[in-house]
Amino acid sequence: MKIGVFICYCGENIGRTVDCAAVAQACASIPGVAVSVDYKYMCSDPGQNLIINAIREHRLDGVVVGSCSPHMHEKTFRKACSNAGLNPFMFEMANLREHCSWIHDDIAVGTAKSIDLVRIAVEKVKRNEPLTPIRVPVTKRALVIGGGISGIQAALDIAGAGFQVVLVEKEPSIGGHMSQLSETFPTLDCSQCILTPRMVEVYQHPNITLMSYSEVEKVEGFIGNFSVTIRRKARSVRADLCTGCGDCVQKCPIKKKAYSEFEEGLAFRPAMYVPFPQAVPNIPVIDRAVCTYYKTGKCQACVKACGRGAIDFEQQDEFVTEAVGAIVVATGYKLYTIDKKPDDSQYKGYGEYGYGVYKDVIDGLQFERLASASGPTGGEIRRPSDKAVPKKIVFIQCVGSRDESKGFSYCSKICCMYTAKHAMLYKHKVHEGEAYVFYMDIRSGGKGYEEFVRRAIEEDHVKYIRGRVSRIYEKDGKYIVRGEDTIAGMQVEIDADMVVLATAMVPQPESAVLAQKLGIAYDNHGYFVEVHPKLRPVECSTGGIFLAGACHSPRDIPESVSMASAAAAKALVLFGSDVLEREPVVAKVNESTCAGCFYCQKVCAYNAVERREIRDRAGNLRKVVAYVNEGLCQGCGTCNATCPSKSVELIGFTDEQLYAEIHALA
């Protein structure tokens, strides 16, 4: 074989701690190496041409580049090989930067190690086989999980481009948290007014299949070819018959046994309910936990009220399977509560703020409902306990957020802005009232954001106090808020009528379970993780799955909408091709030695191992062996390591290749 070795300086990155010329010179004498050269920037056009020309001139049948990480430039160099007529898999990379120059500071050591790294790669490339990428077809339909503003945006964008979308929402209605908000910063436009038309658009869009009150049960397959099982939870109401007239809701006698989720516990809802009047779809649900029929079998009020015969007490959950090529995950967030947590929770509550027992110490979403014209007080700011209008109100930022002692290191990002909005709305509605905001820093990066906060301070005279609050306790119907203004260096005690806590954003509690179903990465809080924080911010490491909105990290409406459109664009890029090419680094079974124990099937995380029957010409079953579905296999090598008879090999990483690499060091 004739191997070419190309050593890159990466400017100073490698050149500073590795004598690249000496490495190239030393590598020239490795058996099989026909040419060995060094160059300042191998990834540049002249660098690539150096490789291409050498392949042609020396008729190389293997190339090793000693440079950066394969993550950075493996594709670049493979393409160069390909352009010169060499199979791109006859190429190997020795990582002289991350594995050597960046972590050493002695030139002699760095140079010697670099030679070893190249020698290893040369021994491997000698045993490489020409490979062809795997081609798989693309199903041009998308699944969007979550029907908040992010999911709505992604679904509308994909559907608008002419592709079918299945939108799955676990609640009875789409709309998410945005449907609960009063006004939105920094423009103070009405949240429902801008959201509900988009909800209706989703409902009426011919390319969108809306599955509300449904959850993703199982995900199989791979990029371009997912098969998703969806649980359609029993509403106890037949969607095909219901007209949404609301008579059943009116007649439901169980009015005060369940708190309204939509009103954040500030009001009751009946057992038979739609979350809010503008719900999409406008089909009610029976809460079986409180409904009299499900407890005693006695009540039939809704059945009598329904002129369509749409009530179905016997309805069961249904399972449907959908074939899709791309998945957008947009499951959103929840607010952390300050309640006392169980010992095994990763978060702790705020005992110093009363662990959530004070009725008039509420969170931001509850304040949204109080400020909303459609809310339980018709938009008047009144305390939950006695319905009095608070004359003095305290807002506290960073409750949970940035509080490591409670289990959070991160900033929830939106609280500075919505707290300014809350204080402003309060001052607009209660002119004589006093509003205080305790904050640590004001983070108002965003168009018109800083101006908005200044408006709260300068025009509405909201008093901003820089410092955290140590304690809240109730005394004679007031809430004593004990804080410090670190600017004045003074302890501050405010006897407030009401306190609003800007509590941390957390992912939905089931996000880790969903991530496991999807096979995507999530962090220690349950936020989903993108594949690259800068250049691939909406893609998951698992191909074909994209992220949108606050399920990725705390973010506000404009950012969520932008991210959703970006995720939709990524899905559309995928739908732009009829077939996909994948790296052929997959496992392969040697059928003649496979004993059919199927340990490989047990350990495979991607359900890629199947059973194949081997029959003789007469059609008699000879044996059953393992078979790897190339579409599903991710090339992790677990089966390879598990197989007792060494019958599974990872193409491109065979035992022979790996042993050769080790021997190269001996």
């Binding site: 005992g351 662990y355 306790y473 109730e474 005394k475």
Partner: protein, 293 residues
Amino acid sequence: MNIGYFPGCSLTGTSKEYDMSLREVLAALDVRLDEIADWSCCGASSAHVTNHLLSVALPARNLQLAKEQGMAEVMAPCAACYNRLVSAQHEIATRPELKGRVEYVLEQKIDGAVTVLNIIELFQRIGTDAIAAKKTLDLDGMTVACYYGCLLVRPAALLGFDDAEQPQSMEALIAATGAKTVDWNFKTECCGAAHSIARTDIVVDLSKKILDDARAHGADAVIVACPMCHSNLDMRQRKMKNAADGHADIPVLYLTELIGLALGIEHKKLGLDLHFINPGPLLARAARKEVAA
């Protein structure tokens, strides 16, 4: 039940009624105290404030004595001693270099560990059923505020005993005596602790706020489990009378005294005559209903 006993200096002097009532009550509940022979001061805040090594070495000496005397568990009724003993043992266990220095200072090797209990934990172990079973007087005429102070509950992660902000363990015990407890705000606010002598002014201010809150929530006595808290809240009420808004006396009892009352133990044996604020009138009014046979 037998348990090791570390009385601490206060219980031999300023807080001797805590020691008296503790011994009476535990004897009535069939608990035998094995006092650590030749125990010495834990160093209290003074060592803690000025000399870290001494603040670990002095408790370590006592824990070592307990081990040598065959005790697996030691109860320290004083919240400050309890806190110092637990903290010192934790520091020795987690900082090997400190352990070496302590061994040098004490001129002996340190090995093994002793479980250190506070008085509430001991009562929890005895159980509210056992207390209720021996009750002869129902205290349901009394409404009390349970005051935990600082050193019983903080740092919560280390002591692992009760919630640092909203503790409830004392209330649960007191339920067995029939006495009512109030939900109040200042059960873990600081009374000024060791500043009693050097900065009495601070202690008077802080302690007054605590007592005012207890009274405002309807308590007619405050229950404590710490001699420092007791002397600040009880003895310093004289000086509170000089405050602008005046001060009305409120008795401060040790947890052991309250339980002793329920068990029908004589007031004098519980040291109830040794307080600065005489609880006599309250007890005459509220603590006289006998448990029906």
